[in-house]
């Protein structure tokens, strides 16, 4: 089998995917993606993972398994922290160990660079960890990395311009709200209502971190910081009619941060908001009912405010 690096399309792929793909492309290494999450991947992940793991982790293990037979290497980076005092959650910090303990792969099959800070030394070491098993020189790796970072910084989130009735913001960890398997039902519903949805992952990082500055002394999780920043930003926008927070059952940071945001952001802002918790048993009927009810409420308010035509206020 020739060299082929498999990248699971889950967890931090939704955050850094394009950077990783560019990196491997620039260094001329063939890459295989595990594809979009589907029922089979979820089922496999559920049987592989420890029961108490959160659903994104279960899905991740399903993705990894689907790559094992076709790829010579699997890319499972450990990203624990890249801004000072901003950690990522325990599961992400232990990701290579979780994968290793679940599948018991040969050490060289796993490409797991360790990112604990953003220093040049860490990056040099990380690039070396990837390049060595692939038979690349470190110089090629560095060039590829530098180029990839440049491309990554230049990507601008897409903004749609077509007319809509209203805008609803969806906030959550990017690995949940960007995974079609979890959010397609919500998306479909709002499309049918001609409502545009904006997800927090599409906001430029600059805005998000600027908005999150007020919470810096309390929140120390990187992802939660982004959620707080996005929540703050959306609540300050007049054209956002409501905010939906999607989190997964068993998500450690979310269990506390949602409460914190409720008190510090949502209540003072008076924006309609709702927390949707998903797990692997979520039947979509229950989810849709809640989203429908939420939209009814938001629409009612919009009608009262005269922002929507009041045809038969129910």
């Amino acid at each position: 089998m020739g060299v082929k690096v498999g990248i699971p399309e889950a967890l931090l792929y939704h955050e850094f995917g394009s950077l990783w793909l560019d990196f491997f492309q620039n260094s001329g290494v063939p890459v295989a993606l595990s594809g979009k999450t589907n029922k089979q991947i979820l089922d496999r992940g559920m049987s592989l993972a420890i029961d108490e793991s959160c659903i994104p982790l279960k899905v991740y293990l399903g993705h990894v398994e689907s790559l094992l037979t076709t790829c010579s290497h699997i890319f499972v980076p450990r990203i624990a922290q890249y801004y000072p005092d901003n950690h990522l959650c325990a599961k992400l910090a232990g990701l290579p160990d979780i994968v290793q303990n679940t599948f018991r792969l040969a050490n060289e099959k796993l490409l797991s660079p360790n990112i604990e800070n953003s220093s040049a030394a860490t990056i040099a070491k990380a690039v070396h960890t990837i390049c060595q098993p692939l038979g690349l020189s470190d110089i090629t790796g560095h060039q590829a990395y530098r180029q990839a970072v440049k491309q990554w910084k230049n990507t601008i989130p897409i903004q749609s311009g077509h007319p809509v009735k209203a805008k609803i913001a969806i906030i959550g960890h990017s690995y949940i709200i960007k995974d079609v398997f979890f959010n397609s039902d919500i998306e479909k519903f709002f499309k049918s209502q001609e409502v545009e949805i904006i997800i927090s992952g599409d906001l430029p990082n600059k805005i998000v971190y600027e908005e999150a500055k007020a919470f810096q002394q309390d929140i120390y999780w990187q992802m939660s910081m982004k959620i707080a920043g996005a929540a703050q930003y959306f609540c300050g926008q007049d054209d956002i009619a409501g905010v939906i927070i999607v989190s997964s059952f068993g998500c450690g940071p979310d269990s506390l941060v949602n409460e914190y945001l409720e008190h510090h952001i949502f209540k003072p802002s008076n924006k309609p908001h709702m927390v949707l918790t998903i797990d692997e048993h979520t039947g979509n009927a229950g989810l849709i009912t809640r989203v429908e009810a939420f939209w009814d409420m938001v629409a009612r308010r919009l009608k009262l405010e005269g922002k929507l035509p009041a045809d038969g206020l129910s």
Binding site: A80, K91, N101, N114, S255, V257
Partner: protein, 357 residues
């Protein structure tokens, strides 16, 4: 100012002594009961882990008793523990205007020192250092007694007496004022335990108790698993020696002589190679140590949903398999019932005993 703090097994005794000896008025939370659990869960976010809910219950009960200033620990890391106080403050401020102090466990010495200075401003620096040292001494004494309970209790034909002596002795350390006191009391209890136990050279089956700090420490939430095992003739090694922990995290680490992360990172290899926050690395390291030192079983105890311990569990599963080591995982939340836990413990002990034969 009436200071209160969460209950945490015998860790609250030296804290009480330290504060009262410095002239601070302390209102202790009532011992954890069913009411604490209910109250705590009612005023906590649903998905949060058990220690948060118990601490909350303690705070609310001590507010009823008149407390107005709270001190708690926080450990900035990947685990939720560090974020407790930010959310607890929100809930508590709804009830009453309260003061809230948090001590960062990563800077335990400086944190404790600053806290003590602000609640007892007129006390000299030397006195504070003395009280800190005494707290560590007391904790070490309590650890020693606990270890003696495990050692002699499991070898005794009347383990109940020894358990009672050890458990009740903890209360005697209240109001200790001098180093001499601590030493005397420790010696007396150890002597008493020794005199109660018969000479017996038989080595009972050994079980390692690993997991999350709070769950291991607070007997109410861990269903006194240690005592249950001792009564069935199992020698327990609990991997949370508070005295040693506080000592190494205050004095040694501030001198740069100790780094908890590095100490356990080496021990946990190759099953867990990185720090994952909380006690994850420690659980894996201790389990591996037990596996290599002829232990007969491992009990892994953690609050439901604990992030670091779940990561650790992936590793524990493999250690158990590779070393053919029986492993019992107990994930505890506010709904767990003691009967269910006891049944599982008994079945586990039966397994170990049969395997040993």
């Amino acid at each position: 100012m009436k200071v209160s703090y969460p209950q945490m097994g015998y860790l609250s005794i030296p804290v009480y002594n330290m504060l009262t000896n410095l002239g601070v008025e302390v209102v202790e939370a009532p011992a954890i009961s069913k009411k604490t659990v209910e109250l705590g869960s009612m005023y906590s976010p649903e998905g949060v882990c058990l220690p948060y809910k118990m601490n909350m219950g303690n705070f609310l009960e001590s507010i009823d008793k008149g407390a107005d200033t709270f001190v708690t620990m926080c450990g900035a890391g990947k685990c939720r523990f560090g974020f407790y106080s930010a959310v607890q403050k929100i809930q508590l401020s709804k009830t009453k205007d309260v003061g809230f102090y948090t001590i960062d466990s990563n800077h335990l010495l400086t944190g404790l020192y600053h806290f003590l200075q602000s609640v007892a401003p007129e006390v000299s620096c030397l006195e504070i250092v003395k009280q800190l040292t005494m707290a560590i001494k007391t904790l070490k004494a309590l650890d020693t007694i606990n270890n003696a309970k495990n050692f002699y209790g499991s070898r005794s034909t009347t383990p109940d007496t020894i358990i009672d002596i050890a458990n009740q002795s903890a209360g005697d350390f209240r109001d200790c004022r001098a180093f001499r006191d601590v030493k005397d009391k420790q010696n007396r209890v150890i002597h008493l335990i020794k005199s109660m136990s018969e000479d017996n050279n038989k080595q009972p089956p050994k079980v390692g108790l690993v997991g999350e700090f709070y769950l291991l420490l607070e007997p109410y939430v861990n269903y006194r698993v240690e005592d249950v095992l001792i009564k069935q003739g199992i020698e327990v090694k609990k991997f949370v020696n508070t005295g040693a922990w506080v000592y190494s995290n205050t004095l040694l680490s501030s001198l740069g002589l100790y780094n908890e992360e590095h100490a356990y990172q080496k021990q946990a290899r190759p099953y867990l190679n990185h720090h994952v926050g909380g006690d994850g690395l420690k659980s894996v390291g201790s389990t591996l140590w037990c596996a290599q030192h002829g232990y007969d079983g491992i009990i892994h105890l953690y609050p439901f949903g604990c992030m670091p311990e779940i990561v650790a569990q992936y590793a524990l599963k493999n250690i158990a398999q590779d070393f053919n080591l029986p492993l019992l995982t107990l994930s505890v939340d506010e709904h767990a019932s003691d009967v269910g836990v006891l049944t599982r413990l008994e079945a586990f002990v039966d397994c170990i005993k049969r395997k040993k034969k």
